[in-house]
């Protein structure tokens, strides 16, 4: 029997006294992954504060210092820990700034895909009938095309319709839209599945008997209850979006080389890889792998923790 006499638990108690938090502190893998992810994100966002150089400041760049190896290799200079790239920019600073851009683009793209996909998925699942058929067939058709090809296509169209002088400035937004429009079907499918389950539950029927309109039922009752599975694929989607941005930039379709992102760094480094300048491509690639791997681990843990059937 519930005892109502005790004082209401504080917000902090409520946060720490739940099964998900408990599962988190009892799974070392998830804690390490969360720590690494948090470290990467903090380091990248604090780049202007902690980076030894500013890669956007031409005064700090000297072509004489170009292509220097990391500090511990013969010929390295102590102020450039991880060496310099072909333009003489400090690798560490460039990776920090570039990582910030990659994470931002990934987050924005996932948010776009999530908003679009979840809205369409919930509507599709709740309304059903022809609406459902049309939305889901569009999603199916889109899923048959490899995502990266579609992103290149949307990216190309986006650039083509922009006036020439704005292309450089808006390249980032075009990349975000291209990736976001590519990954909405995943969100739509998951949200639709969860909606089909929730819409049959009696609380939704009770809301209909009260006479609430459909949009309010979807927004207030169904949407919050579809969030768990959506959050799980959003984490995995974030890792995929970061990779998609790197791929686009690597292919020269994304962010211009003057603005460093992890993808552009890997591409530039790739040209020098066989002349022995391994560090220009190695360190950005390592950062990408560590970041994506830990975000994926976090997503895996979240999938298990939020699904009681797997426990």
């Amino acid at each position: 029997m519930t005892d109502f006499s005790d004082p209401r638990p504080s917000r902090w108690q409520r946060l720490t006294d739940n099964d998900i938090f408990w599962s988190f502190i009892h799974s070392p893998g998830a804690m390490i992954a969360a720590a690494v992810t948090l470290l990467c994100i903090l380091a990248c966002f604090a780049a202007p504060l902690i980076a030894p150089f500013n890669p956007f400041d031409p005064a700090q760049i000297s072509l004489w210092d170009g292509k220097l190896p990391p500090a511990w290799v013969d010929g390295g200079q102590p102020q450039y820990w991880l060496g310099t790239d072909n333009q003489g920019r400090d690798m560490l600073s460039t990776i920090l700034y570039g990582g910030r851009l990659s994470i931002l683009v990934g987050l924005a793209a996932v948010c776009l895909g999530m908003v679009l996909g979840v809205s369409l998925g919930v509507i599709s699942g709740y309304v059903g009938g022809a609406t459902d058929a049309i939305i889901m067939r569009i999603a199916d058709v889109q899923l048959t095309i490899p995502g990266i090809l579609l992103a290149i296509l949307i990216n190309g169209i986006g650039r083509a319709i922009l006036p020439l002088e704005m292309r450089e400035d808006f390249a980032i937004y075009v990349v975000i839209i291209a990736i976001g429009l590519t990954d909405w079907p995943q969100f739509a499918r998951v949200a639709r599945g969860a909606t089909l389950v929730e819409a049959n539950k009696e609380y939704v029927q009770a809301a209909r008997v009260i006479g609430l309109p459909g949009w309010l039922i979807m927004l207030r009752h169904i949407f919050p209850n579809t969030l768990r599975p959506v959050l799980v694929i959003a984490t995995i989607g974030l890792a995929l979006a970061i990779i998609a941005e790197a791929t686009l930039s690597f292919l020269g379709q994304g962010i211009p080389p003057t603005t460093p992102s992890l993808g552009t760094l890997i591409r530039v480094g790739n040209e020098y890889l066989f002349s022995g300048l391994w560090w220009i491509t190695f360190f950005p690639a390592l950062t990408l792998v560590v970041l994506v791997f830990s975000v994926n681990l976090l997503g895996d843990w979240m999938r298990d923790a939020l699904n009681p059937k797997l426990r």
């Binding site: 519930t2 109502f4 609380y203 009770a206």
Partner: protein
Amino acid sequence: MTDLLTITDLDVEFPTRRGTVLAARKVSLSVAPGEVLGLVGESGAGKSTIGNAIINLLERPGRVAGGQILFEGQDLRALDEDQMRKVRGARIGMIFQDPQTSLNPLLTIGAQLVETIQKATDFKGNAATDHAVGLLEAVGISEARARLKSYPHQFSGGMRQRVVIALALAGDPDLVIADEPTTALDVSIQAQILDLLKKLCRERDLGVIIVTHDIGVIANIADRVAVMYRGEVVETGAVAQVLGAPRHDYTKSLIAAVPRADTRLHRFTSVDYIEGGAAQASRIDIKSHWLGQGRKADPDRAAMIEINGLDLSFVLQGAILRKNRKMVHAVDNVSLTVQRGETLGLVGESGSGKSTVARLIAGLFTPDAGTIRVAGQDVTTRPDAPEAKRARRMVQMIFQDPYSSLNARMSVRDIVAEPIRFYRTTGSESETRKIVGDLLDHVGLGAQAAERYPHEFSGGQRQRISIARALASRPEILICDEPTSALDVSVQATILNLLKDLQEELGLTMLFITHDLPVIRQMADRIAVMRHGAICEVADTDHLFADPQHAYSKHLLGLMPRMEMLTPVQTPDPSNVPA
């Protein structure tokens, strides 16, 4: 000592994050050969835990913390897992609740039986097969030798449970533990299975422990009964004594809460010993309170629900051509009238279409043909017209499953206040909060419950929240779709009492849907019997129970469990307080 199994001072504990839970406390029981011991209690009483502890199959991390389990003089707690496996199956047989999942669907009945026989006994090869045939015949399966080659899905639910019993008997055990063996079965099959168990017990001199929540099962099969309450055995004795003249207050409450089919009571008495029952519902002055205002129906109108020629089919298998579609006729030409202030009971077995009728009236389904009038207003011809929508607001519904009928992400206040806020039926948010508090008080939860979330409440308490939510629309018609079938019998009694009180106070018109005849006897003024989507008979409750006209009504009434030995209704003696 002649007893087959003796349990003394058994403690079972479950360590959890929030500390150790004692699932069984100082439990002492004994079973003699040829005796059926009933272990009865409500959910969470620890009755299944005892059954599992005997054969060392406690769900992790549960463990036996103290006490002794003596089986034919052998201490079962001292055995290791290998020795225990030999006892299980060969000496002690188990029968579980769900015959669907206790058989392997990929093996024939014969293969499963013969394998078990070969493991548990010395029979090998053809001798084992012969033994299997003998067992199937013993549990009443005809043409046993031919049926050995059948797979579980080729048997009906009752037949499958017979096979499970045969499996439990395969090792020629001395003791059989049956955990809710008939809960998943229909009433008519339940009676056959209980008869079979009793017969086997006598013939083979078996000790049987039958674990159940159902007093009717105990009354029909057990010789002795042990009543469990919160992990403790509160009363043990011969069935006729415990059910007919209970000594412990809990047993008295429990038996008083069992709905009777023989007479209609005004209220269930003495149910205050149980969870949630102690909460006193506060009275509201209906004339001056918000709840009594804003009546929408014409007060002189007698017929609140009139349905005429209602038809609804569901598509089983879709096809582009209409003639190729497979349809099921869920509701077939149903006509009914419910008068103001009365309770109409709608009874029928699963699949009879009774819930579909309820959902049609509530507007959750649209009929293929026919009309529904709510307080004289047609709500089917133009369902989106403002008058139709206004009429629909007089109808509210209570659902069966208390765990899915509340949105887990909303606080109780937001759940109950939703219709008030949406239709702006109060002047201000502070008035809304006050009314939500009054409603929660009124259904016996207390206004403090508003701050909390649904997961903090038990099933019966959640059903009270559902009722408060329905009242917040100020309904005049309440549709109750099996509102208590997911609840324990004592909680059921408190909820039924609450519904009766509310109806009396607010003059609610009720449509009460259930498969449970004793419950409907307590609730309804008139009863409509449904079968295959059509109505067989509509009659006054007393009339129907005394003299059913339709053949199907007679059949249904004949299936009710016999409860003659239950004590006449009485109030508990306050001096007999439990230790």
